[in-house]
């Protein structure tokens, strides 16, 4: 479904450059449930941003369903993302001034979908996530877990092929986290490809594959045992001064 070849991302820092993603090669198959792990600052969020087309300052090749996304114009990429990708955020990012229902409807409002279809989609989703009773409440009137439930509902309402979630349970306690993870598993079983970032081993257990990152490098991948930190160090000595 997705192929990343030699993706690199740098930030200008003072006189030099900070490397955030280094020669990332990654293949994601449809139906996978990938967990990205690694210490803080390893580049997990950065990787997700690249996958989500929120970032376009990287170099390398990005193939999305056999399409060369890296040659596309900004607008085409945005179109691609809009159609195929859903997002869930650590701090939910619900809009305070909109009700639960309106928040869920938001991704649809940016698409050319007939009103009636939109309404039925929203109703279905509310139903599916069992939040019909909450549809007219505002985010501030919900608990953290409920808010994230809405966040996930919003992320999948337009039936994306790929769901990206950056620490979706970071602000939740374990009971709520478990609920969200069950939900992810369910979605994955229904065919959604998922890439999540997490620090929790328990959450990682829900996934089908785990990727380890450190200092911008992909240093471990359960689908690719050959990739080991030892190997890596041998071929590409880390340069602390540049990295940090």
């Amino acid at each position: 479904m997705i192929q990343l070849k030699n993706i690199e991302r740098t930030y200008k820092s003072g006189a030099g450059q900070t490397w955030v993603l280094r020669r990332v090669n990654l293949e994601i198959q449809p139906g996978e449930f990938i967990t990205v792990m690694g210490p803080s600052g390893a580049g997990k969020s950065s990787l997700l941003n690249v996958l989500a087309f929120l970032d376009d300052q990287w170099t390398g090749e990005y193939w999305f369903r056999e399409q060369a996304a890296y040659t596309m114009k900004r607008k085409e990429r945005a179109e691609l993302a809009k159609k195929n990708i859903g997002m869930v955020f650590q701090s939910y990012h619900l809009l305070d001034d909109l009700t639960v229902m309106e928040n869920i409807d938001l991704p649809l409002s940016y698409k050319d979908i007939p009103r009636s279809e939109r309404q039925s989609l929203v109703a279905d989703t509310l139903d599916r996530f069992r939040i019909v009773a909450k549809k007219d409440l505002y985010p501030s009137q919900l608990s953290g877990g409920q808010q994230q439930l809405v966040g996930v509902a919003r992320g999948v309402i337009h039936k994306p092929a790929l769901l990206l979630a950056d620490e979706p349970t970071g602000n939740l306690h374990s009971e709520q986290a478990k609920e969200i993870m069950e939900l992810f598993r369910e979605l994955n079983q229904q065919g959604t490809t998922i890439v999540q970032v997490t620090h929790s081993e328990a959450n990682a257990a829900y996934g089908t594959r785990t990727i380890q990152m450190r200092d911008g490098w992909v240093v471990g991948d359960t689908a690719n045992p050959n990739l080991s930190p030892a190997n890596l160090t041998a071929t590409e000595p880390r340069d602390a001064a540049v990295n940090r």
Binding site: K75, H93, L95, R154
Partner: protein, 836 residues
């Protein structure tokens, strides 16, 4: 105290740190205070201030209703004037007034040390200064004995400013002789400083006893003519009497006076004669502020200007208020930190107040500097071009100034407390967390309201500007009925150069010949009733074979014009012929009427020819002047006034000729001919005083002063208002889009395109603009219908003007939204989400 000084220093530092904010706030305050003070000071002088005389609240003005059949002079203000016999009767036979004075304003030539000078003169009854309770600044003022026998007491009192200006405040001028219109008059005294006239807005330089009218207004023999109305009467009530009581008490006397007048009117129907006495009533009006034709002239314009200033001041307030509030919102964190560090509430508030005080004081200071300048600009705009004293001073009224400063200070202090109010809320924690989410919606809501108010106000002001500008344009493009270009005009009164009536005709003949011979002159004409000079002088006519209906208004304009008048002015002839040199003193008397006259009395221009008319009304009058021509209508009083019925007489056949207004049609720019003409007239007679030299276009402009001032100010204020609204709107949008960066980021991450973000911001703008327009539109319709009388040729709800204004306001709103919208669309979702 130590703390206060420290706060003060800190406040100065704070303001210097954000000079843009400080400058905008101070300028806005200064403009508000300055403009307001200037306008209210003028308004106070023009409309509210009392005359500087004794027992001012007992002064009353007399006026009356009922038809007037004699010779009537009026300043086009609807006020009725009295004849001298009427005044004498009222004065001698009433029992309700402790004093009653008569007054009239004119111009005279004053010659001193062989230098002629055209000055304003007030003809006053001998008791004038006495009744007003005025004391002389030098010498003496008039006494009743100065004003008993006609032409017997050639004495003159100088106005204080004329004494200063012309005679260097030299007391040596007392008992010296000056020439008034060529007659020797003795200067007996000087009027007190600060007193101009009992007629508000008149600024006479000399006062002359009424009995000297024949010298002051040469050729006027109507002192004893009961039917020639020309003077104003101001009375002083007996102590304890109300105006109503006085009105009732003087009623029978007034009926008797009207009966006396009726005796001199021959003819008229029974109905007319009955109504003449019984339907006429004498009114006793409040006179504490002086009789003022000027007041009614300037009242509406000044009120309109005041309204505009008020609206702008309101906008300024809203602007400074929202500035301070937003600044306050930005400082909530600072306040919270101070508070958390143990600062007492009192200190924090004191700090804020000191800053507000500083702003208010600076604004007030600049406002005070600005006020007199605004005043003098307004005064010269409205009364510029006049000679002598201006009736108003540019010195702002101290009370009004202090009031405005106080108001500005209060407003800035109040708004400066905003951050204190906000951080006073118990939940300090979110404020300390920098985001201060809870704090932002308050000022934003206020800013939205403030911007909506500003958009609305600028709509009102712009609608006003549009209507007034179009009024001015309409008036400018009114067809005067004669060609106004390449036309130079000036007045001349030979009597002021000592000419007796019998020599006047010869002088005019020589003037015509000289002027015609000048290079660049196409044609020359003269009239005794100038065109578009904003005054009218009408008289009754009798028309043979025309049965006037009872009470029908037979008043018509009766100018005496030179032979070439119609060809020079380019008034087209519709029927018959124009005057010729053969229409002279000895031959058949002829007249030319205008189209309105012909149509009204005869139905058709052709029909009017051959009919006979006469000056004056009544049974004894024999119409012996034959109508030989009809000319097309032309505007006479002003471009605004409708055409009046007019009978032109050839000046050669008029019994007597005095002041004439000359019209010189030139080939080149008319201005260039002035010096040539002056030199030629100088050679003709060095004593001739030529006054009010101007082109017809200048004359029209002069006529349109009020309209010009209003149009100019309205446009200025309109643009200012639109600018302020634009700045305010920009501020709100810039603020709200920064506040919404993360929201916009989320939306973009969820699929919003850049276009849809721009649309979102624009929608906010149009929504705001739409609501404020919807509210402001009916308001401006209401306000405009209140000033309907000042409009010309356009309805107060003119759809084109309204539509255009709405478009302009919307465009301004969209323009000021452009930058914030662009910035919003440039939000990088990745970054926005990072700094959640």
């Amino acid at each position: 105290m130590n703390g206060l000084l420290q706060d003060f220093r800190y406040a100065v530092r704070q303001l210097r740190k954000s000079p843009g904010f400080a400058a905008v706030a101070i300028i806005t305050l200064a403009l508000g205070i300055g403009a307001n003070t200037a306008i209210f000071s003028l308004l106070d002088q023009a409309l509210l201030r009392s005359l500087p005389v004794k027992d001012v609240d007992r002064l009353v003005i007399l006026n009356y209703s009922g038809s007037n059949t004699g010779r009537l002079q009026s300043r086009a203000d609807g006020h009725f004037y009295f004849s001298y016999p009427m005044y004498r009767d009222l004065h001698d036979r009433n029992s309700v007034f402790s004093g009653m004075i008569a007054t009239d304003f004119t111009q005279v030539g004053v010659q001193w040390h062989n230098q002629p000078d055209l000055v304003g003169a007030e003809l006053v009854s001998g008791n004038y200064f006495d009744v007003l309770g005025l004391q002389p600044a030098a010498g003496r003022l008039f006494v009743t004995a100065d004003d008993v026998v006609a032409d017997a007491n050639p004495v003159v009192v100088l106005s204080f400013s004329y004494w200063q200006r012309r005679f260097g405040s030299d007391p040596g001028i007392l008992n010296q002789s000056v020439l008034v219109n060529g007659h020797p008059f003795t200067v007996v005294g000087v009027a007190p400083p600060g007193f101009h006239s009992v007629v508000m807005g008149d600024t006479p330089d000399v006062f002359v006893p009424m009995m000297m009218k024949a010298e002051v207004i040469p050729g006027s023999m109507d002192l004893e003519d009961r039917r020639s109305s020309w003077l104003n009467i101001v009375g002083k009530l007996k102590p304890g009497l109300s105006r109503e009581q006085a009105e009732a008490g003087v009623g029978p006397l007034w009926s008797a006076i009207r009966s006396d007048e009726l005796k001199e009117i021959k003819g008229g129907s029974e109905n007319f004669r009955d109504r003449f006495v019984n339907k006429s009533q004498l009114f006793v009006l409040d006179g504490a502020r002086g009789f003022s034709p000027l007041r009614s002239d300037v009242q509406m314009p000044l009120l309109i200007v005041m309204g505009m200033v008020g609206l702008v001041a309101l906008m300024a307030c809203a602007n400074v208020g929202s500035l301070l509030l937003v600044r306050g919102a930005g400082r909530i964190r600072e306040m919270s930190v101070r508070y958390a560090l143990g600062a007492k509430q009192k200190r924090v508030i004191q700090q804020l107040l000191v800053e507000g005080l500083l702003l208010g004081l600076a604004g007030g200071l600049f406002g005070m500097l600005l006020a007199p300048r605004v005043s003098s600009v307004l005064i010269t705009m409205i009364w510029g071009g006049g000679t002598g004293d201006l009736p108003f001073s540019a010195k702002p009224d101290l009370r009004i100034m202090l009031f405005n400063c106080g108001l500005a200070l209060l407003a800035s202090l109040l708004f400066s407390l905003a951050p204190a109010l906000q951080f006073w809320r118990p939940d300090l924690a979110p404020a300390l967390k920098q985001q201060g989410m809870t704090a932002r919606s308050g000022p934003l809501r206020f800013r939205r309201i403030s911007v909506a108010v500003q958009i609305g106000l600028s709509l009102v002001l712009l609608v006003g500007a549009g209507l007034f500008v179009r009024t001015l344009h309409n008036l400018r493009s009114v067809n005067a009925g004669f060609a106004t270009d390449h036309l130079l005009t000036f007045g001349v009164d030979p009597r002021m150069a000592g000419y007796e009536p019998d020599r006047t005709f010869a002088l005019y003949q020589r003037m015509f010949e000289t002027l015609r011979g000048l290079p660049g002159v196409r044609a020359v004409a003269a009239t005794n009733d100038p065109e578009l000079a904003n005054d009218n002088e009408t008289g009754n006519v009798t028309i043979s074979g025309y049965a006037d209906k009872p009470d029908e208004n037979m008043q018509v304009e009766q100018p005496n014009v030179s032979v070439d008048y119609f060809s020079t002015m380019q008034m087209p002839l519709l029927a018959g012929r124009v005057f010729t040199d053969q229409d002279s003193a000895g031959s058949q008397k002829v007249a030319i009427v205008n189209e309105s006259f012909a149509r009204h009395y005869f139905g058709d221009p052709q029909q009017a020819l051959g009919h006979f008319v006469a000056n004056g009304g009544g049974k004894g009058v024999k119409p012996d002047i034959v109508i030989v021509g009809v000319v097309k209508d032309a505007k006479h009083v002003s471009l605004r006034e409708p055409v009046t019925r007019t009978v032109f007489f050839p000046y050669l056949q008029s019994p007597e000729l005095h002041a004439m207004t000359f019209y010189v049609r030139t080939w080149q720019q008319p201005e260039s001919a002035e010096s040539t003409i002056r030199r030629a007239m100088q050679t003709l007679d060095a004593n001739l005083v030529l006054d009010t030299f101007r082109t017809m276009d200048e004359q029209i402009d002069n006529n349109l002063t009020a309209e010009r001032v209003i149009a100019l100010l309205a446009s200025g204020f309109g643009v200012l208002a639109a600018l302020m609204a634009a700045v305010g709107l920009y501020g709100v949008l810039a603020y709200s889009t920064t506040q919404r960066t993360s929201e916009i980021g989320i939306r973009m991450a969820l699929g919003a395109t850049r276009g849809s973000v721009v649309r979102m911001v624009m929608f906010e703008v149009l929504w705001l603009a739409g609501i404020s327009i919807a509210i402001a539109l009916p308001v401006s319709l209401l306000l405009m219908s209140a000033v309907r009388s000042q409009l010309y040729g356009i309805s107060s709800s003119d759809p084109l003007t309204l539509g255009l204004t709405i478009v302009v306001v919307t465009l301004v709103a969209i323009a000021s939204a452009m930058l914030p919208a662009r910035r919003a669309s440039r939000v990088e979702p990745m970054k926005a989400l990072r700094y959640e």
